[in-house]
Amino acid sequence: MTSNMIPPAIIFILAAFLIPFLKGKTKSIYMLLIPVATFYVLVNIPYGNIWTYEFWGYNLILGRIDKLSMVFGYIFTIMAFLGILFALKVKDDLQHVAAIVYAGATLGVVLAGDFLSLYLFWEIMAVSSTFLIIASRTRASREAGFRYILVHLIGGLFLLAGIVLYTQKTGTIAFDYIGLTGIESYLIFIGIALNAAAIPLHAWLPDAYPMGTPTSTVFLSAFTTKSAVYLLIRTFPGADLLIWIGAFMVFVPIFYAVLENDIRRVLAYSLLNQIGFMLVGIGIGTQLALNGAVAHAFCHILYKGLLFMAAGSVLQMTGKIKCTEIGGLYKTMPLTCLFCIVGAASISAFPLFSGFVSKSMIVTATVNEKMVFVYLILQFASAGVFHHAGIKVPFFTFFGHDSGIRAKDPSWNMTLAMGIAAFGCIFIGVFPQPLYNLLPFIVDYVPYTGAHVVGQLQLLMFGALAFALLILSGYYPPEIKSINLDVDWSYRKIGRGAYFIMDRGLNALNRLSESVLMGVVKGVVSFFKSAAAKIALFVSVNIWLLLGYRGKRLEIKKNRLYNDILEGTLPIGIGAAIAISFILLVFILT
């Protein structure tokens, strides 16, 4: 069945490519209309499989519409709107295009009912998000972006291998519940878990996300991980392994979050911790637990987006984001401070804020299943979250020692985006029913009971007491300009060491064959690399000439495009090659 409406992913991706040709107010309104139009489509499509197409004997399903995919579709579209609004005044088209393609690809992943379209959108997601990381145009961000795309391409290969085996076994590319049963399911699981930043496949996240621009990190925080959470709910609900991965994830990252100096890295680690809660819910797999995981993902996207917006505003207005360099900003950035506190209260699951009505469903699910140990870990983590995300982030940014910086609140669009997100956090916290109505299963759960409210408040407030006493006594670990080692050490240092040994030991042997082979390969690669750049340049220069760019401005534009392409085509080429090889593999094997 096809619908007379366009699939949301296609709306976003096609619409993105018009952005560079628009200017001023038209451009702003156009960008904001993309998620609005998509939302209209989402509200009006019927349940079932729609937008199905026949492709080489396989059925592509671009719209698997049910309660589970819809709730993620809604929140991703809302977050895309807020992200676009927040980034409205950014003067860099690369970021706008990448962000909107990225959001579109995520919607594609969420609505895909078959593995082939899922995989294509999956790769588009990886590539477009890389552009958001390197958009800062610093050396550090380029290197982090490179590590990011490598890790994700490897994850994509695991997923691909799993998909090929799965398709061969079942004879169909359609998928739904898979469950951890055979080798193919484990491969798919690894591929998805990597995107969910499940420990130990998590290090790319705190490595890459804090490298984005003030606005691009807002997009990054929402899409990749939560679309993977969606897929885990779809394909592996009730997998016991997820309970233990999740429990580990709520536990370990909070220590890093306490130690980190960079506010956006603190938030990245607390993002891992929050995904841990969701994975525990998915692993338990009861209706209450799955509802909890979905609700928590929904709330989390909103408040984590809000926190990254607040951090982005601080970075934008002061140029700094490290605890050691900022502080006392509440004096001149009162609105940002207020919104940040709302986000902090929400992530800490304070009563009347959104985290309270979602996280508690997961915690209650552990109680119903009599999992004492997991329950105690989740409660420990709840206190810990309040400690690092709830208190540390606002305290060291807006209070703490006065850094002497007197930056103002950011421009109206950034403030408005934060305001809307903050309103959403409070609204869900006070009136949870509309959110509960969206959840995949019928909700028979009341968050606001006297015992629950008082218990939670005791947990949080006495955690705050510990913070206050430790700060006042001076035992609290001081902020230090430093970095903390994580698993990415293995591929950043050992990788380098291994390269060194190989280089010294084996290369003498290889040098001859290498020089012949590499000469050929290099020639071919550079030909295709520069060919793509030259074709793009040829087309663009003509358009620019038509638009009236001359002289120096044309020269600058040419150089920028050329560099962007040389940095960018390689991963796109790999992604596309993999996508094509997938089709071939499926074709040969079945």
Binding site: I254, F255, Y256, V258, L259, Y330, K331, T332, P334, T364, V367, V372, Y375, L376, Q379, F380, A383, G384, H387, F399, R406, K408, T449, G450, A451, V454, G455, Q456, L457, Q458, L459, L460, M461, F462, G463, A464, L465, A466, F467, A468, L470, Y475, Y476, P477, I480, K481, S482, I483, N484, L485, D486, R492, K493
Partner: protein, 81 residues
């Protein structure tokens, strides 16, 4: 230029804030006696369990984090060397 906020500059206000905070803690402990309990596990029949657990969670968190810092903390240019 907008006027700066500076309510937390005066020690008097900070003191007021802390007193309010301590009072709210006491109220929370008292409140537990007036609500209908439905504890998750048997150990939650103990009054104030959440309070004690929350407090010691955070103390442990800081204590272990300080130990962790000895192992994982490096200078900012560690990866550039």
């Amino acid at each position: 230029m907008k006027k700066e906020l500076s309510i937390f500059d005066s020690p008097k206000n900070v003191k007021k804030l802390l007193i309010t905070f301590y009072c709210s803690l006491i109220i929370l402990l008292i409140a537990e006696f007036f609500i209908h309990p439905h504890p998750a596990f048997s150990f939650e029949y103990v009054k104030g369990f959440s309070a004690v657990y929350g407090f010691f969670s955070c103390v442990m968190l800081i204590f272990l984090a300080k130990i962790l810092r000895l192992i994982v903390m490096k200078k900012e240019n560690y990866y550039d060397k």
